[in-house]
Amino acid sequence: MNAFHQAFIHRFLRPMQVGWFLATRQLRRSSKGTTALIVFIMVLTFLNLVVVSGLLVGLLTGSFDQFKKSYSGDILITPKPGREFIEESAQTIAYIKNDPNVANFSARYSVLANVRGSLSENAPAKEKANQAGGAIVGIEPSSEEQVTHFSKFVIKGQTLESGDDNYILIGANLIKEYSSFADVDIPGLELLKKVSVGDKVKATFSLKGETVTKEYVVKGIVKSKVDQISQRMFVIDSGLRRLLPVNEWEVQEIAVNAKPGTEPAVLASLRGFTEGKLNRVQTSAEAIPSFLRQVEQTFKILGNALSSIALVVASITIFIVIFINAVTRRKFIGIMKGIGIEPRAIQFAYVFQALFYGVTGSIVGLFITFGFLKPYFDVHPIDFPFSDGVLAATASGSAIRVAILLVVTLFAGFIPATIIVRRNTLDSILGR
């Protein structure tokens, strides 16, 4: 054994062993109620660290998740800004069809239109016209169903089927009776009034200098917390193609779902294919509007700020617990030093006790988080206006928080123990 090993054993290993010996006995024979209370505080601290920030971020995570499942799929292909449609749409679709890693996809047309709810051209004087402007999206129902399970967004009526050329689905936010904005008078915002399933509406399209009008029967009303569903209208793509002066397969969106585990490969493949073309190939996360990502960042900062407060509270709690413990046991600490127990061993004893509180609190907290809270919020998400909030807690994120909590706990145990251990041995023994 070389000098380094001997020095390590003398300076650390032996004091650690004695510290462990003391800590385990102190914990075993201390008040069970007090120990349970301290562990409870540590559990609350852990939950504060993980759950509070997790719920804040989870509101956005839920939104992003819905954006992906309801609209973008794993990968979204769109024209570059300023372009009307995806360049070489037909070739792109053919390429996607032939990619063995693609599970399903949906190509969508999107055309701006004005839709009148009343077929009378003249609205009563001084009243807003019964009309709404927005995008009418042409979809192929079975493809769309595979990618987004579109039919589940239908809150009234029925979803579209092949051959429904004269039918339309209208987003709930475009109808006054369903819209979240109906109770505020926003200048320029026009909503359809008293439009329901079975009613007729007239859509006016302006495309490439041509104006085309078509009557549709409302087949259903669709609603989702994703604006791309609730603020748009949906018709059959083939009907739209026949109606408008568009070339076949000049689509505006292609939502692609990759087979499990193959998203990076599909993404790379599609990016390779579209290189040099005026298209954008984005992951769902990249396609999310930037303001939502900014909100997510803000929530993360808020969550971290709240977590920091929780950490400070936890460290003060542990500090006080250990300090009071050490102060009340000052005489015994003095006696231990008197009979030759190294101060370092006594410090280790308190650090181990503090770590016990931290580790136990974290384990219980992890169990509550992943065994109860996360599954609960997955099944019963928080009903937030723009998302179904989930608990955004990951194993890696939680591991980092556990590590932070333990480091804080370690110092919160070490510092008060050191303060007491450094006091004069005889003064401690004699209690002066």
């Binding site: 006995r25 024979r29 008197g338 009979i339 030759g340 023994i429």
Partner: protein, 224 residues
């Protein structure tokens, strides 16, 4: 074994300064059983704290085995107390959360013995004091006399060169006091050096040498 030269201990500063030990010089040989006696405030315990390295003298030299202890740092003194000295305190000073055997084993673990070795030596020490059947009892379940005997077992388990005892019978009834002092006599017969502070003359005379202090001065030093 112990040589004390011109030992002075003062407490306080300025006008409040109080000289408790006044230029003491004496020596104690290996194997001696010495009682330090004197009235309250004579400086008995203060002297014990200085020579047992629990306190720092104001001036003067203390030698243990011809080794000057004044210049030892805190860690060296701690190690010396662990390896070569043993302590018995007036109020037993057992750690309440440890059983008797754990209390006795603790310094042995600190010395580097394995738990098994420490427990074995601890059991032997308890057996010498007739306390082996109480090895698994925590101090709160033991009488004062039993606690003090466990305390002695802890002090001797590592075979210290010198055993220091500060008023070891002060909190005990006469029956338990007799048992404790008899234990010291047995240890002394086995060659243990013992330095005991007491104010009880009956027990002081059990030692082979009595150093009497008064007002910080040695007023007599005689063998019985």
């Amino acid at each position: 074994m112990i040589r004390v030269s011109h030992l002075i201990k003062e407490y306080g500063t300025g006008e409040l300064k109080q000289r408790v030990l006044k230029d003491l010089s004496f020596s104690i040989d290996s194997g001696e059983f010495v009682s330090i006696i004197g009235p309250s405030g004579a400086g008995k315990s203060t002297l014990l704290y200085q020579i047992s390295l629990l306190d720092e003298p104001t001036s003067g030299d203390i030698y243990l085995d011809d080794r000057l202890t004044n210049n030892l740092n805190i860690n060296e003194k701690t190690k010396l107390r662990l390896m070569e000295l043993g302590y018995v305190f007036q109020d037993y000073a057992l750690l309440p959360e440890l059983t008797a055997i754990e209390n006795v084993s603790l310094p042995l673990l600190m010395q580097g013995l394995s738990k098994k070795q420490a427990t074995k030596k601890g059991q032997e020490a308890l057996e010498r004091l007739g306390m082996h059947d109480k090895a698994e009892s925590v101090p709160s379940k033991l009488s004062g006399g039993q606690q003090q005997r466990v305390s002695i077992a802890r002090a001797i388990a590592h075979n210290p060169k010198i055993l220091f005892a500060d008023e070891p019978t002060a909190n005990l009834d006469s029956e338990n006091s007799d048992l404790v002092v008899e234990a010291f006599r047995d240890l002394h017969k086995a060659g243990q050096t013992i330095i005991m502070v007491t104010h009880e003359m009956e027990y002081a005379h059990k030692a082979k040498r009595i150093i009497e202090l008064r007002d910080g001065l040695i007023i007599s030093d005689k063998h019985t």
